[in-house]
Structure formats: structure tokens, C-alpha cells
């Protein structure tokens, strides 16, 4: 289908179903139950999953295929966000021009940075991209937000003010980001018994965009162009000796992944019309590197998993506090309850960084291929077990587990 082989088609369909049904999948626990804390099916987090998924898919096109480790990709995301908010300020709250411009600007910006940075390889390339991104961050945070020339609004973040021109803003169109009148914030809440599921317009816009770019990523991975990029990764020198100039290919990959980042940034601003400078900081660039490696570098689905993993921890674990713990373990005797809460306390709430750090280490140590490898191993394990139980079944009758 759509020019994909069978395996890729089924992957695309699975991802499509998962994103389509995310409001159900991410809200497995009834509202008001003790486990509801682990529900992630609210609009903001679902949007974030998908947006960072796009960011990581794009990053993987560069890093997973060519092996070039960029440490400055957050700059493109930030530039994308800024351009989107500027479109809101100047034109109107319609998200289409905003997202379009963010992709274009990020593409141009990445062309510039990529052209310079790709003159070097290995860690020298990483540091060059890091340096460009940190410079962008520092300038956006302070110099470019001075009252005389306020491009970024600095620490506060660029936002839309009532006195902005918004020349195309119609009289009746909503006063917040919308798609031809459909506000991104519009949410339909479906109550089924004790459960409640949110269907958010913004989320579905992001989801559709992600499906499109995911499809594009598959096509790139399977194309001769993708093959060329892989060749760069395995042995660039040999490629050069055969008379091929690899630079146009790597630069194209860099710009494509920069545009993915810009798209993610634009969507982020479309979901929430504020662009903060922290988006460009090295920690943000590091985050997407972590997402990709954690999920599984060079795999199609890995980066999306990695993005979901990190965002889930950031948003869910940081909100668990001692009160919540006490309510969970209220069934235990008092002394024991306090002891359990005391033991878990360092890992939740303000300790969510600690949990995340430990999980990073565990994943890298035991699953060198990232979460994707974990999934494969589990699959294999099940398969083996199934065949094993089949064998035993044929031998003697034992109750199935």
C-alpha cells in the first residue's frame, strides 16, 4: 500500500491505529481511581507525545541513517516555534500559515548551520552544532529580546498580545490557534461509566501530521537516498574513494531533519501559542538524542517510543507527591504505610529526575538496541515460550499458564 512493502504497511497501520485510539489506550484507569494518576490521555500530554515523536523521527533520519550526532537540533525546534508565533502575531491565529512558515524557516536555518557544520565529522560536528544552538539560545534569551528589537521576548517567551496586527484575523474567528475556525483546544469528552476519554482537535491535527511525516520517513528509509545515507554511516571514506560526493546527501538529511524539528516546533506553538527560549537550550537538544537512542537508533518506531517514554516520566512522575502515595498505600497498617512512602519518596515528585536517570542506565545497559530491542526480545520470548509450551503439551498434559 502507498508504495510500501508488507511489513512497513502493517507498521504504518499499527502506528496509525495507536495514534487514532490513543485517547482510549492512554486512559486505561477509571477517573477517580487511585491509578488514575498514571493516565496520560489528556490533551496536552497526548499532543506532546506526538510532537516530540515527530521531532525524534526527524532526528533519527539524520542520526539513525548517517550517524552524524547533532547536539543542536533543539535550535530548529525553537526557530520553528518562534516563526509560528510570529505568524500568529502578524497574520492570524490560523495554524496553517504558521506551521508552513515554521517548516520553511527551520529548513533555511538548518541549511545554513548544516552547510557549515558538515564540513567536519564525528564529535567535531557534534560540537559545532552544539555551539550554534547554544548561541541561538543565548541570543534568544537576552540580546534578541531587548526593547528596541524584540524578536523573541526572552525569558517570558514570545506570545500574542491584543495590540498585535493580526491583519488576516477575521472578526468571528476564534481568539486562539485554530484550523479554519476549529480551535485547537476544542475537546470532546466522552464519559463511559467511570472512564472518561478526551478527544482533542489539536491532538488529532498533530496525529495526522505525524502519520504523514512518519510515512515520509519510511519512504526515505527505504529509498536509494536512504541507502546512500546508510553508506555514509558505514564507511564515508570508501564512498569518497569511489568518487561519490557524500556531502549533498548528508546536507539533505540534515535539512530534512531540521524541517521535521521546525514542524514539531510549529505544532507546539499551534497547540499552545507561546515560544520559550528554553526550547533551544542544549538540554532540549540532548533530550531528543536521548529519545532516539532510548527508543532504538535507526529503527522506524524507536524514536516515537523514546519520546513517549521521556515525556511520560516528565509529566506523570513529577506530579506524584506524598499525599498521592499515602492514598495509594492507605490500606497498609500505619507504620508500614509510612515506611513504604518513605522508601518511594525519593523517586517521585521532585525526585523524578532520579528515576529517569536510573531508567536511562538500565535501558542502555541491558537493552543496547533501545526499547525496540526490548520489545523484540519480549516478542521472541513469548514465541519461544509458546513453542516450548506446545512442546510440553504434546508430551504430557499440563495446565496452561
Amino acid at each position: 500500500m502507498l508504495g510500501l512493502n508488507k511489513k512497513d504497511t502493517s507498521l504504518l497501520i499499527i502506528v496509525g491505529l495507536l495514534t487514532l485510539l490513543a485517547p482510549f489506550i492512554l486512559n486505561p484507569f477509571p477517573e477517580g481511581s487511585a491509578m488514575a494518576q498514571f493516565n496520560a490521555g489528556y490533551p496536552d500530554l497526548m499532543q506532546r507525545f506526538v510532537i516530540f515523536g515527530i521531532f525524534a523521527i526527524g532526528f533519527n533520519i539524520l542520526f539513525g541513517l548517517t550517524g552524524y550526532l547533532s547536539f543542536g537540533h533543539a535550535a530548529f525546534l525553537g526557530v520553528g516555534s518562534y516563526s509560528a508565533v510570529w505568524m500568529f502575531k502578524l497574520l492570524s491565529y490560523n495554524v496553517i500559515p504558521a506551521i508552513a512558515l515554521s517548516v520553511v524557516v527551520a529548513g533555511l536555518f538548518s541549511l545554513l548551520i548544516g552547510f557549515v557544520s558538515l564540513r567536519r565529522s564525528g564529535i567535531y560536528f557534534s560540537i559545532l552544532t552544539l555551539a550554534f544552538a547554544q548561541m541561538s539560545f543565548a541570543l534568544a534569551y537576552s540580546v534578541l529580546s531587548n526593547p528596541k528589537f524584540n524578536l523573541t521576548n526572552g525569558e517570558t517567551g514570545l506570545q500574542v498580545y491584543a495590540d498585535d496586527p493580526q491583519i488576516l484575523q477575521g472578526a468571528n474567528s476564534p481568539d486562539l490557534p485554530h484550523l479554519f475556525g476549529l480551535p485547537m483546544r476544542a475537546t470532546y469528552t466522552m464519559d463511559v461509566g467511570a472512564w472518561s476519554f478526551d478527544f482533542n482537535a489539536g491532538y488529532y491535527l498533530c496525529a495526522v501530521v505525524m502519520m504523514v511525516v512518519f510515512y515520509l520517513a519510511i519512504r526515505i528509509f527505504r529509498s536509494p537516498f536512504g541507502m546512500m545515507l546508510r553508506a555514509v554511516k558505514s564507511n564515508q571514506q570508501r564512498m569518497n574513494y569511489t568518487g561519490l560526493n557524500s556531502k549533498p546527501y548528508t546536507l539533505a538529511a540534515f535539512v530534512i531533519s531540521g524541517m521535521y524539528a521546525g514542524l514539531a516546533g510549529g505544532l507546539m506553538a499551534a497547540m499552545d501559542p507561546l515560544a520559550g527560549a528554553e526550547r533551544m537550550q542544549w538540554t532540549a537538544s540532548g533530550e531528543v538524542v536521548l529519545m532516539t537512542i532510548l527508543g532504538g537508533t535507526g529503527t522506524l518506531i524507536g524514536p516515537i517510543l523514546g519520546a513517549g517514554f521521556i515525556k511520560y516520566f516528565e509529566n506523570i512522575f513529577s506530579k506524584i507527591n506524598d499525599n498521592v502515595l499515602h492514598s495509594w498505600f492507605a490500606f497498609l497498617p500505619d507504620g508500614l504505610e509510612d515506611a513504604v512512602v518513605f522508601l518511594i519518596h525519593p523517586f517521585i515528585g521532585k525526585g523524578w529526575h532520579l528515576t529517569l536517570g536510573i531508567l536511562f542506565m538500565l535501558v542502555v545497559i541491558y537493552l543496547p538496541g533501545g526499547l525496540v530491542e526490548g520489545g523484540q526480545r519480549m516478542l521472541n520470548w513469548f514465541k519461544n515460550k509458546k513453542t516450548a509450551t506446545d512442546d510440553t503439551k504434546s508430551g504430557k498434559t499440563e495446565p496452561a499458564e
Binding site: S121, I123, F132, L294, L356, P368
Partner: protein, 343 residues
């Protein structure tokens, strides 16, 4: 003129910290081929060795003093450090006063141990893994280490003052014939610079003039051949990891009095020190030191009013700007070797 001298001093001082951290990073990279993102955390642990020692020195017993009140109106508990009770108030106070320099002795074994445990317990398994995995696992370790420190010491900075004799500042300008007050410089910053030079000197002479160092250098150049000669190069590299950790730790101990340690100080230095290492050239020890001092001095000059009025915001970006220029003109940094970390 005096302003220029002053900024050179500042630059050397900043550069000392950069150079020490970059030196350790390069030692680890050069010997083990591992990109250690937890190196900033080692610097931070060093600083907290000083904090811990200071806390130990100040361990106190409480005596309830009915004549004074605390903030709730209850009788005040007066605390007297054990050290003062044991050695008498004067000697005790002197020991507490000198707790930062004393912490050097305290930190060396701890840092060697931390380095040893880290290498044997974790890094060892990552020699054959891609650099990306090394980065991820050491970054995870850095987060874990800093969160542990935060759990025990809080997020607020903790003062570790220098000994009274070495606090305050001296008028260097008068000594070389400037007007009084022209070049005033804090004593501890001079101490820090001297300390850094001594450590750097010690590391270089260790590598240059001892048999152990010779073997390590040979191993850095060609690990396989040295191994084939029947030398247990791995064990020596483990020791080098410990030494690198100790260098970072000592840099941290002595840094405390300059700026009070907090749990994220390692992360603040991490990115910078990588830039320093790369500008110096991957795998080159002299390069790391040179780049450390160079970037320190440039950073100081960029923060002068003259520089910031000429190019607004130059003080924010100078380090990165220099890194870009150096890497574009010298492909492997100032003194990098060919073929290291280029694939």
C-alpha cells in the same frame, strides 16, 4: 593596562577550572576511549567532599540555653562542635577554619575510589559499545549522582569559605608599581590558579617521567601492541580513570570557596568542558590545558564593557563562537590527532 592585567588574571582563574576538568576528560578519553558525560558530576562530588568534611567538622552536640529563645519562643539550643570540645575552642576553630584545604586529603581517597568503582562497575562494559551509548549511560549516571547529592544536601548552594588567612584580597598592583587599588585580587583565586598549575604539572610529569606513565602513554598510542607485550594495560587504565576522577574532584574541592557548591554545578561545567576538550583537540592533553586557559581568558575579555558595547551579547556566545572558528580553521582542534572520534 591594569584592566587588561586584571582580566588576564580572571581568565587564568576561570581557565584553571576548565583546564582541570578538560584534562580529566581527555585522560579518560585518551586511555579508555570513553566519552564520559559524568565527568562534571565528579567535579561536583569533589566539591561536596569539602561540604561533607565541613559538616563533619561542625558536628555538634546541643545544650539547651534557657536564657535565649529561638524563633518560636522556645528555649534556644546552643550548638558546640565536637571538634571544639575535643581540641579546645582555639585549635578546634582552626581545624574548622581550614576544612577546605583539609578536604583535599579527604577527597583524594574518596575520588580514587569513586573513579575505580565507576570504571569497574559500569564503564568497563561500554568499551566496545558505540559512543552514543557511552554518552547516554554516563549522562544517566550524572543525573543519578546529582540527584543523590540533592537528596542529601538540598538544592541551595552551601558556602565552603576558605581559611581566614587565605580569604580576602591583596593588592597586586602596588607590588608591580601600579596605583593602589588598581589590581586587587582575591587570595584564594591565586591559590586556585597555583593549585591548578601544580596538579597539571604533576599529571604531566607522572605520565612523562614514571614507568607507569610511559606504559600508559604507549597504551594510548597503541593499546593492542602494548597488550601483546604481556602488559596488563587494562589495570593501568583503570588506575588512570581513578586519577582523572581525582583531578576533577580536587578541582571541585578547591572551587568551593570561589563559588558555593550546589548540586547542579557539574552540569553547568559539562558542556563547557566538552567544548574545551574539542577545541583543544580530542585526545590531546596539552591541547585540553591550552584550550582551557585560552577560553577562560577570552571569556574574561568578552565580558568587559568595551567588548559588550562593541558587539552586544558577545559575552554570552564567545566560547561557542571561538569553538566554531577554531574547528573551521583547524579541523581537529588546536592539537588534535588525526582519526580520533572523526567517524
Amino acid at each position: 593596562m591594569d584592566a587588561i592585567l586584571l582580566q588576564i588574571l580572571n581568565g587564568l582563574d576561570k581557565g584553571s577550572a576548565y583546564a582541570l576538568i578538560a584534562l580529566g576528560l581527555t585522560l579518560i578519553f585518551g586511555t579508555l576511549g570513553v566519552v564520559n558525560f559524568a565527568h562534571g558530576a565528579l567535579f561536583m562530588i569533589g566539591a561536596f567532599c569539602a561540604v561533607t568534611l565541613q559538616k563533619l567538622m561542625n558536628l555538634s552536640f546541643e545544650v539547651v540555653d534557657e536564657s535565649q529563645q529561638d524563633f518560636l519562643g522556645n528555649p534556644l539550643k546552643v550548638e558546640t562542635p565536637y571538634v571544639e570540645a575535643w581540641f579546645g575552642p582555639e585549635v578546634g576553630a582552626a581545624i574548622i577554619d581550614w576544612s577546605v584545604p583539609l578536604a583535599i586529603l579527604f577527597a583524594i581517597p574518596i575520588m580514587l575510589l569513586v573513579g575505580y568503582v565507576m570504571e569497574r562497575g559500569l564503564i568497563k562494559y561500554f568499551y566496545k559499545r558505540p559512543h552514543a551509548d557511552q554518552i547516554l549511560v554516563t549522562f544517566g549516571l550524572a543525573i543519578v549522582l546529582q540527584e543523590i547529592v540533592k537528596y542529601f544536601f538540598g538544592a541551595n548552594p552551601i558556602q565552603t569559605p576558605p581559611p581566614d588567612a587565605l580569604s580576602g584580597s591583596i593588592d597586586l598592583g602596588v607590588m608591580v608599581g601600579f596605583d593602589p587599588n588598581a589590581i586587587i585580587y582575591p587570595i584564594w583565586r591565586l591559590v586556585y590558579f597555583g593549585f591548578a598549575v601544580a596538579i597539571i604539572g604533576a599529571v604531566f610529569s607522572f605520565l612523562q617521567f614514571t614507568t607507569f606513565g610511559m606504559v600508559v602513554r604507549a597504551g594510548m598510542a597503541d593499546r593492542e601492541t602494548v597488550g601483546l607485550l604481556g602488559i596488563n594495560i587494562d589495570r593501568r587504565f583503570t588506575i588512570m580513570f581513578g586519577i582523572a576522577a581525582a583531578v576533577a574532584g580536587l578541582a571541585g574541592v578547591m572551587y568551593g570557596p570561589l563559588n558555593p557548591p550546589n548540586y547542579h554545578m557539574g552540569m553547568d561545567f559539562l558542556v563547557l568542558s566538552f567544548v574545551v576538550v574539542v577545541v583543544g583537540g580530542m585526545g590531546s592533553l596539552p591541547g585540553a590545558v591550552l584550550a582551557g586557559f585560552l577560553l577562560g581568558i577570552l571569556e574574561s575579555f568578552a565580558s568587559t564593557t568595551w567588548a559588550t558595547t562593541t558587539i552586544p551579547g558577545i559575552n554570552q556566545i564567545i566560547i561557542y563562537l571561538v569553538a566554531i572558528i577554531v574547528l573551521l580553521t583547524r579541523p581537529r582542534g588546536l592539537m588534535g590527532r588525526k582519526g580520533v572520534m572523526e567517524e
